[in-house]
């Protein structure tokens, strides 16, 4: 036992130290050298306010009762922080951009800045937190009594005496003073509570140090290392068989939810955040803190079971174990650790709750009360500060009363988890609000209200075991004996852990209603706007708001409003800064939409979004939310996302198109070259006969003494060349027509054999002139093809005359045979000349490319015949090919045409 006076003196000294640290922190922050208080380390330590006396003392108790289960309370937050990229990052950004003051403010702001939602959230937060604060009071009071031995001298029954309410009251009083002094120094969320944060950080270090000290003492002083400690453990101490069931998952989930939704956690993580980057550090450092806090819980629990009497309260092992071992200094350190965990929680919770109560309950009421006439500078600020201070006292008083009423019951033991589930009701609306545009205020309200009711009914009231509101009979048998409505076996869901049961019903109904109501009732324009700004916070700056809300106000009216809330100096600075930004001379900026939006956000940092909006609305006129604009632009971000997805697809398509264009361009260039080539060839081909004509015409003109024979001969040449010219022009035109024609030819039934014979007949004169024999080989006989007889004949004629004209053989022979091959009718026209040279074979179907170097009559070729024939065959859906050269044979051309299958059988007969 330590003397009560010593413990009191040490506690007082510690409290004074905290005051000094807080005072120093505030002073440093005011003089601008707040680097230390804005460091990621301090930020992380302040988040450790998560670990309350419930952790400090309760974790060991929990470990004694349920083995490893205690770890879930720390694993949940670990998941949230190592997964900060998912949620915390967005939450912190939104908190900063929209000047969020509390979780109630966040939800209210997201869902159209309505007041009713904020009131509901505040209510839930207060009801959930008050017992939690009572728990801290109880823990501090108990620990004080235990360590100073004011209860009983027997360690076996340290806590079951009457709590010392006087001590508890003065502890509460001291905390109220501290919180009021350092927590309500200013009202702007952006001017953070540096003093408080500094003190909380110190307390975080103290509690970690204390728990580690006790743990190290157990492991290395009482035992010889961790192995020995665990060898003391009773059989099935860890309860590994049962502990990982639904409760493991549920508790992890609850703890994860709590570290986001608990008002005090929201306060330190989001509201007090001075730099988003601190989150990067907290993402690992806070889990590390939790891991270290948990590290010695099991050894302390095991040691407590071994060294302390069976009746000793496991919830006090951290304190009683050093005492039992006569380690008074260690016991004092442990006491200070517990004291730190309790006070830091109470202080931050009070700040968070008082902000919510004053911003969302007191202010809206005050503004409605007609007899509260406030027109002086800073009057609202004064009211706010007063209401904050009053709220702090009220919350602590509530906690004290709660403690006074229920101190003897065991109800407090589980209040930590009960509070967790209470604030977990915020989760669906919070997550939905951050990621789902359609989420509406009605949905959030419905879900929250139903979840809250179910929480009260299934967990909160039953936890009093019949001593508060809900009689024991209702808990055991259901209201009016209806077992179907039994609070802990609702709708017949029996055999479930009460916490898991409550969690299941409250959160599933909450989520269900939130989603369904949101889907049924469309969000109002302002909700829609806020939804877009929140969901797309990383893409949309907050001042986008001013694009949609059209408001008009006199700058002077706005100034009066601003100075009432912010005080004259701050308001003056705000206005003149903005005026400078606008480039307006004087100190009053133009009251445009942008400025009104900016001012509203600044005010929201003090009084919350709902109140700020209500106040601005009193001053401005003609507020319209441009619905068209809103709908258009709210969907704009969505469109941008869609667009960029499309863009990705499009850029791929574009690449393809670019490639196709490049190819097309290449082809065009080629075509252009071919065209140039063609024109130049046409020019050449035309100039050649023209040359002869001009030259001989000149000779005839200028040579008077010419003989008759010469005259006749030269005139003949002129005639011949002019005919060649005509033929050339005809063929060029023919080819141009063939190539340019888009309309397919109407093909008729033609007997190709007959056409072939007529063509051969036509060529007889030329053949006999050249002493060429035309032979027929095998013939198909009776057949019909779809073709155009004249064009087909033209092809035959061209091939036969070529064979005649360019046949260099001494005994020229042309062999023509026809066959059916597969579905095709084929005509082979072969000569016995020297054939076509290999390097010419490729281009003989091109224009102006004569395949024959030597001919008997070089004058008559135009070089277009084969090109024309090839074109014709393409138009007839057939083909014209030069067959591979067989040495010793001449050139052999094959004409193929698809033939009419109806006639095939007849032809085959």
């Amino acid at each position: 036992m330590l003397s009560g006076n010593l413990v009191f003196a040490v506690s007082l000294g510690y409290v004074i130290l905290l005051f000094l640290v807080a005072f120093w922190g505030d002073k440093k922050a005011r003089t601008g050298s707040s680097a230390l208080f804005q460091s990621p380390l301090i930020y992380t330590l302040s988040i450790s306010v998560y670990c309350t006396s419930w952790t400090f003392y309760g974790a060991v108790g929990s470990a004694v009762r349920s083995g490893l289960e205690f770890a879930t309370i720390y694993i949940g937050p670990t998941i949230v922080f190592i997964g900060f990229w998912y949620l915390l990052r967005k939450l912190v950004r939104i908190g900063r951009v929209h000047r969020i003051t509390s979780i109630a403010d966040l939800l209210s702001s997201r869902y159209g800045k309505g007041e009713s939602l904020a009131v509901l959230v505040t209510l839930i937060a207060v009801i959930g937190t008050t017992p939690y604060i009572a728990l801290q009071l109880k823990a501090v009071t108990n620990s004080f009594q235990v360590i100073s031995g004011t209860v009983v001298s027997d360690l076996a029954h340290p806590v079951f005496g009457d709590p010392d309410y006087t001590t508890a009251f003065w502890i509460a009083f001291g905390m109220a003073i501290f919180t009021i002094v350092f927590g309500t120094r200013n009202i702007d969320a952006n001017e953070r509570h540096h003093g408080v944060v500094a003190a909380i950080a110190l307390e975080a270090l103290v509690k970690l140090f204390a728990l580690l000290a006790v743990g190290l003492f157990v492991v290395f002083s009482l035992a010889d290392g961790p192995g020995e400690v665990f060898s003391w453990a009773p059989p099935d101490f860890l309860k590994t068989e049962d502990v990982f069931g639904p409760r493991w998952v549920s508790l992890t989930f609850l703890a994860a939810t709590a570290v986001i939704c608990l008002p005090r956690q929201f306060q330190v993580t989001v509201v007090e955040n001075s730099d988003e980057r601190h989150l990067f550090t907290a993402s690992w450092m806070f889990p590390l803190y939790l891991m270290l806090i948990s590290l010695f819980v099991l050894p302390i629990a095991i040691a407590g079971l071994k060294f302390l009497p069976e009746t000793a309260n496991p919830d006090m092992f951290v304190l009683t174990l050093p005492m039992a071992m006569n380690q008074h200094t260690l016991a004092l350190i442990a006491f200070l650790g517990g004291f730190s965990s309790a006070t830091s929680m109470v202080i931050v919770a009070c700040i968070a709750l008082s902000t919510m109560v004053s911003n969302h309950i007191v202010m809206p009421l005050a503004l409605r009360l007609p007899w509260i006439e406030m027109k002086a500078s800073g009057d609202i600020r004064k009211l706010l500060l007063f209401s904050r201070r009053a709220s702090i006292c009220l919350v602590l008083l509530l906690g004290f009363i709660y403690f006074r009423l229920s101190a003897k019951s065991d109800a407090l033991a589980s209040i930590g988890l009960i509070a967790f589930l209470g604030v977990a009701q915020f989760l669906p609306s919070l997550i939905g609000g951050l990621y789902w545009r359609q989420a509406s205020a009605k949905g959030a309200f419905a879900g929250l209200a139903a979840g809250f009711m179910l929480w009260l009914y299934t967990l909160f009231f039953p936890s009093f075991e019949g001593q508060f509101v809900m009689p024991l009979s209702v808990i055991e048998n259901g209201p009016w004996g209806i077992t179907f409505l039994q609070p802990q076996a609702l709708f017949g869901l029996t055999d479930m852990d009460p916490l898991v049961h409550a969690l299941f019903w409250s959160l599933s109904i909450n989520t269900f209603l939130f989603v369904i109501v949101s889907v049924i009732f469309d969000p109002k324009p302002l909700e829609r706007l806020q939804g877009a700004l929140f969901v797309d916070v990383f893409r949309t700056p907050a001042d986008n708001e001013s694009r949609f809300i059209r408001r008009y106000a006199a700058s002077s009216d706005l100034f009066v409003l601003a100075q009432r809330i912010l005080g004259t100096n701050t308001a003056y600075r705000l206005f003149s800064d903005f005026a400078k930004k606008q480039g307006v001379s004087g100190h009053l900026p133009r009251a445009d939409d942008e400025f009104i939006g900016h001012l509203e956000r600044e005010l929201a940092g003090s009084v919350g979004a709902a109140t700020a909006r209500a106040m601005i609305s009193q001053v401005v006129k003609g507020e319209t939310i441009s619905l068209d604009e809103l709908m258009k632009i709210v969907d704009e971000t969505q469109q941008v996302i869609d667009y960029s997805r499309q863009l990705e697809v499009k850029s791929h398509q574009l690449q393809q198109t670019a490639r196709q264009l490049r190819d097309a361009n290449e082809r065009l260039k080629q075509l252009d070259l071919q065209k140039d080539d063609f024109l130049s060839q046409v020019s050449h081909e035309l100039r050649t006969p023209m040359t002869s004509i001009r030259s001989f015409a000149q000779i005839l003109l200028e040579t008077p003494d010419m003989t008759v024979e010469e005259t006749q001969r030269f005139t003949g040449i002129i005639l011949e060349e002019s005919m060649r010219l005509t033929r050339l022009l005809d063929e060029i035109l023919d080819l141009a027509r063939l190539e340019g024609e888009q309309v397919p030819w109407v093909l008729q039934r033609v007997d190709p054999e007959e056409t072939l014979e007529r063509a051969v007949e036509t060529c007889h004169g030329l053949a006999s002139q050249a002493a060429t024999e035309i032979r027929f080989g095998d013939r198909v006989g009776d057949i019909e093809v779809k073709a155009e007889a004249d064009r087909l004949r033209q092809v035959y004629l061209n091939l036969i005359t070529n064979a005649i004209k360019y046949n260099t053989s001494d005994t020229p022979v042309i062999t023509i045979r026809t066959t059916l091959e597969d579905d095709r009718y084929c005509v082979y026209i072969q000569d016995n000349g020297e054939g076509i040279r290999a390097d010419d074979r490729e281009r003989i179907f091109k224009k102006f490319s004569r395949g024959w170097r030597e001919s008997k009559d070089s004058r008559s070729g135009t070089g277009l015949g084969l090109a024309i024939s090839w074109q014709i065959m393409q138009r007839l859906q057939g083909d014209l090919e030069l067959l591979p050269q067989i040495p010793g044979d001449g050139a052999c051309f094959r004409v193929t045409l698809p033939f009419d299958s109806i006639k095939t059988s007849k032809a085959a007969e």
Binding site: T78, D236, S294, Y643, R645
Partner: protein
């Protein structure tokens, strides 16, 4: 990622590195959650694992430490001025 290696303009290399870190930041919590739940956690029991400490305790605290170390390592890489630049982080989501 050191300052020297970072391109002066949010270049492709930096963006890729940050995006990798971002993906890792999203994967670590998921994997951790899966490993700390059934059935994985059920593979370990009260039998001594390391230096007389039960295997399950070694597993839970080992996993915890690993998650912290990985997150710390990754957070350092992620904490660059470009991280919050939407053009770098979400190029597919940013306005053209």
């Amino acid at each position: 990622m050191t300052r020297k290696r970072r391109a002066p303009v949010p270049g492709a290399a930096t963006a890729t590195a940050i995006r990798k870190s971002r993906d890792l930041a999203m994967i670590i919590p998921v994997v951790f959650t899966l490993l700390i739940m059934k059935p994985m956690i059920h593979l370990f029991g009260p039998e001594p694992g390391l230096a007389g400490i039960p295997a399950i305790v070694v597993y839970v605290f080992g996993l915890w430490t690993l998650a912290v170390v990985l997150t710390a390592w990754n957070a350092r890489r992620l904490n660059t001025p470009e991280t919050n630049d939407p053009l770098v982080m979400d190029p597919q989501d940013s306005p053209p």
